[in-house]
């Protein structure tokens, strides 16, 4: 692949006002800075070392910590100057400032000294040590001796749930935590208490932090107050962690991550900055979901079911021979939206297009196909997450995005603030002046309309909400499109649709967000119609279609000639099948599944793997290199973080081995060759070849990209419990990354191959600015990934007709509910996520509950599914509708749009997550 052709993104589209430049003299040297930008931001964009605490690149300035002091001079003759806070001063032409002047440097040193008065001397036992912004700033300012010998204020720490630890004594009162949690992410249960030197940051009392973005506190806090709790249990210093650029496997947003490993254990996941996707933040499912990699139910050996029904592990060769004998003739291949694009392509090549099925239920497949059809009709650029932040009116149609695409929901929260920024601009308040913008804007919010089956977490920001089943919401979508553009097919008209149409049509950059969770192509068409109607009015309207798995769009793009029902029928008729990283019990009723002749490749002992004839141990995403395609159709490469132990291998390698033993031998010596074959062999995937630099990029010794930081320790001894001989380091011939601490990670390489951020003097994640073109802009070597469909041309006309509203006929209309913690399959095997996963439940209107004779917390039987679940009563769910949580461990799988319900008097509520329970269909 062509390493040089990695596309550089255009300059940051984050900026609301186009920049003019200002020449500013800094310590005797002239710089061209962005006029109006605050000087801290501008200096960091020039890669100058200027200390700070309270300013945050995504949250702006409040000027509270006083660390970013500089000296500003009136003119050339001014020798004395005035002390100023760089983060609160806008860059103006002909300014003269100094970072190094003793006046400023001494002041900064004093700021650290007074912050340190109460800070404990506990770096050696603090999880932040070695990657602590407070340590870095202390060293940078030169405060190296404590003079304060008095008592320090101490606090009682709080229990904040399974994700985040709390050690309040380390707090330096920068306010970043509450500014993120409350102001940026909309959380209500974390606050600042007290005043002066006695400030406490936490909940009112012990309890689980409610926000699904709480984990970002770990990275936002510049010291060790908020820590990654699961990581603390298996703690390793940053300098001893091996990591690689990766992509979150838990939904289709495709946030970029750094999973980190030591001793073969995946220790933690942190944010990997992407200028257009996740920026500086992840959701908690992404941050804490990856402990499935360490699950005790990992498949570690190839197993063949013996005559006694028990799996025998006689080595990979024996298993492959068995598979070859079994799979000599016609063969069904079931792919997976959680497996890599390459593994799915390899499977498709192996079994042939007509025998390959993407591995999603047929209604989901149909919905994904409708999504691609809409994207292909074009007329708009699928918005990136940062584009979502810039929308000035938003309609959410039929998808609870906080659950299915959490990072996008966080972006919508920022979009809603757009009008406050407009007001600030008119009042002459700079966008980065966070306290000023918030104070001036008060409660002003840009329009947000939420139409979903059940209440969602962003309803609190909505101008109006509307509830209904998918067909009903689709009808409302058509109604909105028609109200905007009368030539479009008509639909439901009511107060909600009228208000939404008016607000969207009055906006410049209106955005519609829908998704595949409702499994309703009609809903997607309705959403597309709204966008196209707005385009007809010359609005820069655009559409996001969320999907629930990391590679849902990848498998949709690969196509395949077989649907799941047909594939399962052939399996029931006795045909052998290769099942790729897919737990079929999560997708279809158990009765449809016959695994007697199935070869299952998976990383976990799912119920599907447990029922197979042969199981081959597949690598997880952290143990292999591959590609996921996100909701934007952005293909992104994830790299192997560590070599899997024993027989575990990437699925595509198993498939290549099976291929060699069959007629259809395929020759893919490495992942690059496989990706190239996929690019050239699949309509519309050609751009994949520019995804990432090829293996030969920087082949010269000591210039390769190291997975380990320079201080990686214990190489000779870390495996001494296994063998006293120093093991040979694995050799990676497939990618530009090396299993070594030698090499160059200076940030000038393509953004796709930055394995961690670390820069001299900047040991913490704050060093990311040294890897960006400018603060908050694209990575220096370009933001990762290529968008496979990117066609803004065309102006599609009205598309489809509103579906008929479904009749209840004495039944309940059933809607799917997706839970942010628990509904994702892989995260459901992650212990901390399981602690947050609720017991299976459904949501009912109070009148329906009363009629059924069931109270909140009681049980109802869903007749069709032969299952009982706990009832949540909520007046905000329409009468006649039952919303059933999907994908929760032990929960029922909804297979029809209508169900019959009955109170279950014998129901005993189950507690939520149990790490030992594995989801059953």
């Amino acid at each position: 692949m062509a390493g040089q052709s990695v596309s550089r993104s255009q300059p940051s589209r984050r900026k609301r006002v186009l920049a003019s430049m200002a020449r500013v003299n800094i310590d005797g040297k002239d710089y061209e800075l962005e006029a109006g930008q605050n000087l801290l931001h501008a200096c960091l964009s020039e890669r100058l070392d200027l200390p700070y605490f309270c300013w945050h690149p995504a949250m702006g300035s409040v000027g509270s910590c006083r660390l970013c002091a500089i000296v500003e001079y009136a003119d050339e003759g001014d020798q004395r100057g005035r002390l100023q806070m760089a983060c609160t001063l806008a860059a103006r032409p002909n300014m003269r400032i100094s970072i190094q002047a003793p006046f400023a440097a001494d002041f900064r040193k004093q700021v650290i000294e007074w912050l340190m008065e109460n800070h404990p001397h506990d770096c050696p036992v603090c999880e932040e040590g070695g990657e602590c912004h407070l340590q870095d700033m202390t060293v940078m300012t030169g405060h190296s001796m404590r003079r304060y010998a008095g008592a320090k204020r101490t606090w009682r720490n709080q229990y904040l749930g399974p994700f985040v630890g709390h050690e309040m004594n380390r707090c330096i009162t920068c306010y970043r935590c509450v500014r993120f949690y409350r102001d940026y992410a909309g959380g209500e249960d974390l606050e600042a208490y007290g005043s002066r030197a006695r400030m406490f940051f936490g909940r009112q009392d012990d309890g689980v932090l409610e926000s699904e973005f709480a984990g970002n506190l770990v990275e936002v806090c510049p010291t060790g107050v908020f820590t990654d709790k699961p990581f603390s249990k298996v703690y390793t210093r940053k300098w001893d962690l091996q990591s690689a650029p990766s992509v979150c496997p838990h939904c289709a947003v495709g946030c970029n991550t750094f999973p980190a490993e030591r001793y073969g254990v995946l220790k933690r996941v942190t944010n990997r900055y992407h200028g257009e996707v996740n920026g500086y933040f992840l959701c908690d499912r992404g941050r804490f979901g990856s402990h499935f990699v360490n699950h005790e139910k990992r498949v570690r050996h190839a197993g063949v079911r013996g005559a006694d029904g028990v799996f025998e592990a006689n080595g990979a060769e024996a298993a492959l021979a068995n598979v070859a004998a079994r799979c000599a003739g016609a063969l069904v291949g079931i792919g997976s939206p959680r497996a890599s694009l390459e593994a799915n392509f390899a499977l498709k090549q192996l079994v042939g297009e007509e025998n390959y099925c993407p591995g999603v239920a047929d209604d989901e497949h149909e919905t994904l196909r409708a999504a691609l059809e809409i994207y292909r009709k074009g007329g708009f650029r699928v918005p990136s997450v940062t584009d979502v932040e810039r929308a000035d009116a938003v309609l959410i149609l039929g998808e609870d995005i906080t659950a299915t695409a959490a990072r996008v929901a966080l972006a919508v929260r920022q979009a809603v603030r757009g009008v406050a920024f407009d007001m600030a601009r008119e009042a002459g308040i700079p966008e980065w002046q966070d306290a000023g913008v918030r104070g001036h804007g008060q409660a002003a919010q840009s329009p947000l309309f939420v139409a979903t089956a059940t209440p969602t977490r962003i309803d609190e920001l909505a101008t109006a909400t509307r509830r209904g089943a998918a067909n009903d919401l689709a009808g409302a979508g058509f109604g909105i499109a028609h109200a905007i553009e009368p030539s479009f097919a008509s639909g439901t008209q009511d107060d909600f649709t009228a208000a939404a149409a008016k607000a969207l049509a009055a906006a410049e950059r209106p955005l519609v967000i829908t998704g595949c969770e409702a499994r309703s192509p009609a809903l997607l068409r309705a959403a597309a119609n709204v966008v196209w109607a707005l385009r007809k009015q010359n609005k820069k309207a655009a559409l996001v279609i969320a999907a629930s798995e990391a590679n849902s769009y990848g498998v949709a793009l690969l196509g395949g000639g077989l649907n799941l029902a047909a594939a399962l029928l052939r399996m029931r008729e006795g045909e052998p099948a290769l099942v790729l990283e897919n737990d079929l019990f999560r997708r279809v009723p158990a009765g449809d599944i016959d695994l007697a002749h199935a070869v299952v490749l998976d990383s976990l002992e799912t119920p599907t793997a447990e029922g197979a004839a042969v199981v081959l141990p597949a690598a997880t995403y952290a143990e292999q290199t591959g590609t996921f395609v996100n909701y934007e159709t952005r293909a992104q490469r994830f790299y192997q973080v560590f070599e899997p132990a024993g027989e575990v291998a990437p699925s595509w390698r198993w498939l290549a081995e099976i291929g060699k033993r069959r007629e259809r031998a395929a020759d893919w010596p490495n992942i690059d060759a496989l990706t190239a074959a996929c690019a050239n062999g699949t309509e519309g995937l050609r751009r994949l070849t520019t995804l990432a630099p090829e293996a030969g990029f920087r082949a010269r010794a000591n210039t390769r990209i190291p997975r380990q930081p320079q201080r990686y320790s214990g190489r000779t001894a870390m495996l001494a419990n296994v063998s006293v001989h120093e093991p040979k380091a694995p050799v990676d011939a497939e990618t530009p990354l090396a299993y070594s601490m030698e090499g160059e990670n200076a940030g000038d390489q393509p953004g796709a191959v930055v394995p961690y951020v670390w820069s001299p003097g900047w040991n913490s994640n704050q060093s990311v600015f040294k890897f960006q073109q400018e603060v908050g802009g694209p990575l220096a070597g370009g933001d990762p990934g290529v968008r496979l469909l990117d066609d803004e041309s065309g102006s599609p006309a009205s598309y489809g007709e509103p579906p008929a509203t479904e009749q209840r006929n004495g039944t309940f209309l059933a809607a799917r509910v997706h839970d942010v913690f628990g509904s994702d399959e892989l995260a459901g095997y992650s212990a901390p996520i399981l602690e947050r996963a609720p017991a299976p439940y459904c949501i009912l209107n109070p009148d329906d509950a009363r009629e059924l004779g069931v109270a909140d917390g009681g049980g109802v039987r869903i007749e069709e599914l032969d299952a009982s679940v706990q009832v949540r009563v909520d007046a905000d769910v329409p009468a006649g509708l039952v919303a059933v949580a999907q994908g929760l461990p032990g929960g029922p799988l909804l297979t029809s749009h209508r169900v019959r319900l009955a109170a279950d008097a014998d129901f005993t509520p189950r507690s939520g997550g149990d790490p030992n329970v594995i989801a059953k269909g």
Partner: protein
């Protein structure tokens, strides 16, 4: 008013006064400080239960209300004695011997800063500048501001408060 039981913590009189405050304000949350002062006037302090009830009543999170409560040192989140004694520790009083005065007060009452006498008569707290620097050192007992305090007057001063 989701959980009536919680709001029942407050007396009818308190509820009436809080609602009266709310009626003058653009939104209920703006009545937070007044509501807490009303409850404190009736009960002497704001307990966790009162706090939760006020939060429900005003439609705000417990966290944001407690954040306000703890910012102001005249809102008491723990029970206080009948009279709150506040000794100024800001700069003018510091120069004029506030530290020494505080020690004398502590000796006299037999308690330290933040404590209440066993007979619930006095609670001792520090306070920032009382705006009477010309009469430093100063202290306040209940609503009464006392300037030019000399330690030999303490017995007489405290004797005035039962």
């Amino acid at each position: 008013m989701a959980e009536p039981a919680l709001i029942q913590v407050l007396s009818d009189e308190e509820l009436r006064e809080i609602e009266e405050e709310c009626s003058h304000l653009p939104d209920r949350k703006s009545a937070a400080i007044d509501a807490m002062m009303i409850v404190q006037r009736h009960r002497g302090w704001v307990s966790d239960e009162s706090l939760a009830a006020i939060a429900r009543l005003l439609g705000m999170s417990l966290e944001s209300l407690d954040s306000i409560a703890t910012f102001y040192n005249l809102i008491y989140r723990k029970p206080v004695g009948r009279h709150v004694v506040m000794v100024c520790d800001s700069v003018s009083c510091y120069v004029m011997g506030a530290d020494g005065l505080r020690k004398k007060v502590e000796e006299h009452l037999g308690i330290e800063l933040g404590e209440t006498t066993p007979d619930d008569r006095f609670t001792l707290l520090p306070i920032v500048c009382l705006g009477a620097c010309d009469r430093a050192p100063t202290m306040m007992i209940g609503d009464e501001l006392i300037g030019d305090v000399r330690s030999d007057q303490l017995a007489e001063i405290f004797g005035r408060f039962e």
